[in-house]
Each structure stands twice: as structure tokens, then as C-alpha cells.
Amino acid sequence: MIVITYEDIEVEVDGERWRDGDLWLPIEGLPSAIGWDVRPEGVCAGDICVPVPPGTSWWDDDGFNVSAFARHVGLAEAADAERGVVAYVVPSERAADAAGRSASVEAPDFTLPDLDGNLHSLSDYRGEKVVLLTWASF
């Protein structure tokens, strides 16, 4: 069993294998693990499909190479195979752009809990001015 943490998802998936440092999962476990599944037109999430490049072998009879797919679509991966935890991150436009470019002033939305576990989204406060202040105990 392996734990995959990706965007707002954190799921446990059975049947993982590691081959040459790449994570392989059973194809049927993909939608719950990373939100993508294999269709005739490519690897898809909702209406978005990533065509499989010619000569690419993302899957075989034994499973799907999640690490190779992540590299192709630009997801960053970090793994602790021994403890069975893998993280994927979509590079944010602002944080990931090495040149520091940003194209939009639209504030990215997020949803987080308060101390009592109640969820708040930035978009809940649309119509009000918001000073978004980050802090930490360190």
C-alpha cells in the first residue's frame, strides 16, 4: 500500500511497484490515486486528455508508470519508497517560474481549515477586501 498526496487529495492505493525509481500503479487504481484514467484518446482527467506521445510506454499489462506520466505533464514528484509515501505538485505559475514572470493578478483560490476544522475558501470572501496574511510559529 502506498499513500499519494496530490493537490487536495491524499489517498491510499494498493498494488504499487517501483521499477528503476519510477512508481507504477494498477491502471484501475489511477482515477482514485491521481484523478487521471486511461482512455482510447489518451490519459484523461474530466474533459482534458493528454495524448500519448508516439513510442511512449506509459503502461503495460502490469500497470501504469505514474512517474513517467508526471514528468511528461510537468508534475514535480517526491517519494519515500521505503515508507510508501509519494507527493505530486503542480508547479504554480508564480512559484515555479524561474524567471519570476506572472501573467495575471487574479488571486489563486484555496481552501483551508480553521482551528475547529471548519473549511474556508478565499473565494468565500469575494466582494470584500482581503488582507491575506501568512504567519508561523517559527
Partner: protein, 238 residues
């Protein structure tokens, strides 16, 4: 106001800081001096009237390209950023602290206080006047400032390592987590929050405590002036 704790320690470590029951025990005197804290004012203050959210994965920082705390972004009624991420009412006056006595020279306290008051005045001006406030920036200036900072490292891989570390830490495996917290800090050197979080959680005795040990001061010295809290460009008229 939305306050977001960027803290892998979660509610357990942040709760005592949201409404400390004894400020004088919890904060070093030098920090209290810089904050302009007074016992009378504290007794008269209520608990926060705004949401205090917990972000164990530092996702907000990743989304907005923030690299330290406290950092603030101003967002208007339409969801547009009108001031980009910048140090929120803090400057580098704290560097003048006497590390032997942990006391703060009067001129540093004065500098910190002046800076903080000016920032608060700017927030108030924007709250009252909205886009007519000189502190609210047009979109092209926001974009220019967001692109101005030199960046290096690999923020996306760093964020993946941090996310992995946080998941391991939450699963009560702090030793394994530390490997990846450290790697996250290495991959994105300008992210002070990764670095400080990593140091804080490395020792169970310092979890939830201010990162103010030798490692912190060594990093400050190595990076030079303006790297920790870059100067904030506020209009003189506010």
C-alpha cells in the same frame, strides 16, 4: 483579514500563538519590544475576529510565491491582487538584537515601530479608499513587482519534497520527514519558511518555538541585507 498559519506543526503548535495566554512567557522580550506590545493594550484586546486558518503544507506560500512570514497580499473585492506578497509591517530592525542579552537597542525598536505603523496606516487607507488609495497598485505595477525578485532553485520540486515531508511528519515519522524538509529547503534556498520550519521541527524540544538559534543567525549573515525582509515600497502620502 484572513490569517493563514504556514505551519507543518498544525493546530497543535499554532493554537497557543493565536491568542497567547501569557505573552511575556511566550515571546522573547526583544520581540515584544519590536511588536510594540504593552500589557495594558493586550488586556483590552479580544481574540481575533477574523478567520485563522492552518496550512500545514505551506500551500498558500507556494501558490503566491511567498518565501517568508509574516507576508501579506492585498486582494480587492473582485479577487484581484492590488499589493503583491511583501513583508507585512516588519523590517530587518530585529537584526540589531544583542544576542548575549537578547535585548533590542532603542533605535531598532523605533525603526520597527515606525515601519509597522506606516504599514498599518496604508492598510487602513486602502480599507477606506479602495482603488483611490495610493497604496493600492495598478495591475501592471503588481505584475512588475511580482516579477522583480530574483529567483533561483527549483520551487516545484522543493514544494513536492515539502509536501512529502509534511505527510511523513503528520504520520509521526519526524526523522524521515526531516530528510525531506531539509531537501525542500536546499532546493529553494530563498524560501526562508522552508528553512525555518525544517530547523524548528528537527528537534522535538523546539517544535512550536521561534527559530532564533545559531543556524538562523548564520543564514541571515550569509544572505546579507534585504534578503530576509526586503524593503517595502509604500507611498509617502499614506
Amino acid at each position: 483579514m484572513l490569517a493563514v498559519a504556514q505551519d507543518a506543526g498544525g493546530a497543535e503548535t499554532t493554537r497557543p500563538w493565536i491568542r497567547p495566554t501569557n505573552m511575556e512567557e511566550q515571546y522573547p522580550p526583544a520581540i515584544l519590544d519590536l511588536m510594540g506590545w504593552s500589557a495594558d493594550a493586550w488586556r483590552g484586546a479580544g481574540p481575533p475576529q477574523y478567520p485563522c486558518l492552518i496550512d500545514q503544507r505551506h500551500e498558500v506560500s507556494r501558490l503566491y510565491g511567498m518565501v517568508n512570514v509574516p507576508t501579506a497580499v492585498w486582494i480587492d473585492e473582485e479577487g484581484r491582487i492590488v499589493r503583491p506578497p511583501e513583508p507585512a509591517g516588519v523590517n530587518e530592525a530585529f537584526k540589531a538584537v544583542d544576542l548575549a542579552t537578547f535585548s533590542m537597542p532603542a533605535d531598532a525598536v523605533e525603526s520597527g515601530s515606525r515601519h509597522r505603523n506606516r504599514y498599518f496606516a496604508a492598510v487602513g487607507d486602502w480599507a477606506r479608499h479602495g482603488p483611490d488609495s495610493p497604496a493600492a497598485l495598478p495591475a501592471d505595477e503588481v505584475l512588475r513587482r511580482m516579477g522583480r525578485r530574483a529567483r533561483w532553485g527549483d520551487p516545484a520540486r522543493a514544494a513536492a519534497e515539502f509536501r512529502l515531508a509534511e505527510a511523513l511528519y503528520r504520520r509521526k515519522d519526524p526523522d524521515a520527514a526531516q530528510v525531506h524538509f531539509t531537501e525542500a529547503a536546499r532546493l529553494w534556498p530563498e524560501n526562508w519558511a522552508y528553512q525555518r520550519q525544517s530547523r524548528q521541527l528537527a528537534d522535538p524540544a523546539t517544535v512550536g518555538e521561534l527559530d532564533a538559534g545559531p543556524g538562523f543567525w548564520r543564514s541571515l549573515e550569509q544572505r546579507g541585507p534585504g534578503a530576509f525582509y526586503p524593503p517595502v515600497d509604500l507611498p509617502e502620502t499614506v
